[in-house]
């Protein structure tokens, strides 16, 4: 063994490494739809999201050796992506001057039911929100809260994964998620009231 350690990489090792790398790239590419879906709402626009996803994959392909096989590759990719997003200075640009209000959890339902002539089927009540209402309400949620909503509620990441991706404690993930959803519902209620007036 001591003698062999000095030997250069032999052909078999090179082939094994190439195989690992190709497998890594294929697994990463297979996740790209899911990565984009999350990136779309972490970034401010579709164009920004596309750039961010490209940068993420370029970096991932260069540093594939730092990924530990068998761990959550989607979370690993999102960790790269959120770091790139922060590096782009989004945090300073997009922080709103005032914190949007949160409403209680029942507030949105009550507003929808109130303005909808007493619709009783909960599945129909929700349909009174348009896709545009939802997209713009989500983008109005301050980024700290929105990041958590996007990862957990849209990306299906666990609290634990979201905590690692964003590098914040799990308790912070939970409290931001709780408040973020309330801010989102408050924004949605406002868009409904505007449409009704």
């Amino acid at each position: 063994m001591t003698v062999m350690a000095e030997a250069p990489l032999d052909a078999a090792q090179i082939a094994a490494e190439a195989r690992d790398r190709v497998r890594f790239e294929e697994e990463a590419l297979a996740l790209s739809d899911q990565v984009f879906r999350v990136a779309r709402h972490l970034a401010g626009s579709r164009d920004e999201a596309e750039d961010l996803v490209q940068e993420t994959y370029a970096r991932a392909f260069r540093s594939w050796r730092s990924y530990t096989p068998g761990t959550n590759l989607r979370a690993w990719l999102l960790r790269i992506l959120t770091n790139l997003n922060i590096d782009r200075g989004r945090r300073t640009q997009r922080t709103p001057q005032t914190m949007p209000l949160e409403a209680n959890d029942y507030y949105l339902y009550d507003k929808l039911a109130e303005t909808g002539g007493g619709a009783s089927d909960e599945d129909r009540v929700v349909e009174r929100l348009s896709q545009d209402d939802i997209v713009s309400a989500l983008s109005a949620v301050p980024h700290d809260f929105r990041d958590v909503i996007v990862l957990v509620d849209i990306g299906d990441f666990s609290y634990q994964d979201a905590a690692q991706i964003l590098d914040i404690p799990i308790g912070t993930v939970m409290s931001r998620l709780h408040r973020g959803r309330r801010i989102l519902k408050r924004e949605l209620a406002e868009s409904v009231l505007e449409d009704a007036s």
């Binding site: 190439a18 790398r21 190709v22 790239e25 590419l29 790209s32 739809d33 984009f36 879906r37 779309r40 709402h41 579709r46 596309e50 996803v53 490209q54 994959y57 370029a58 392909f61 260069r62 209680n104 959890d105 029942y106 949105l108 339902y109 929808l112 009783s120 909960e122 599945d123 009540v125 929700v126 349909e127 929100l129 896709q131 939802i134 997209v135 989500l138 509620d153 849209i154 939970m174 998620l177 709780h178 959803r181 989102l184 519902k185």
Partner: protein
Amino acid sequence: MTDSPQDPCAHCEEMMQPYLDHILTEAERIEAELHLDDCEWCRRRYRFEESLRTYVRQAVSEPMSSALKAKLAALRIPLN
């Protein structure tokens, strides 16, 4: 049913998010379900929240363009 001095519906509202996230303790979950069994008013609002979460997820899902997909594949490092 509960020692809570609060209005039971207000308390149920507080438990809604953790209930739907399955992070209530067993005792809290039972407390919420007992209230929901009796209270249609809260039950409707829980059901709405569930539909809302699904609806939001669908509404914000934008498919990736095939152009971007091709660009990502082109970023792969060629074998040499």
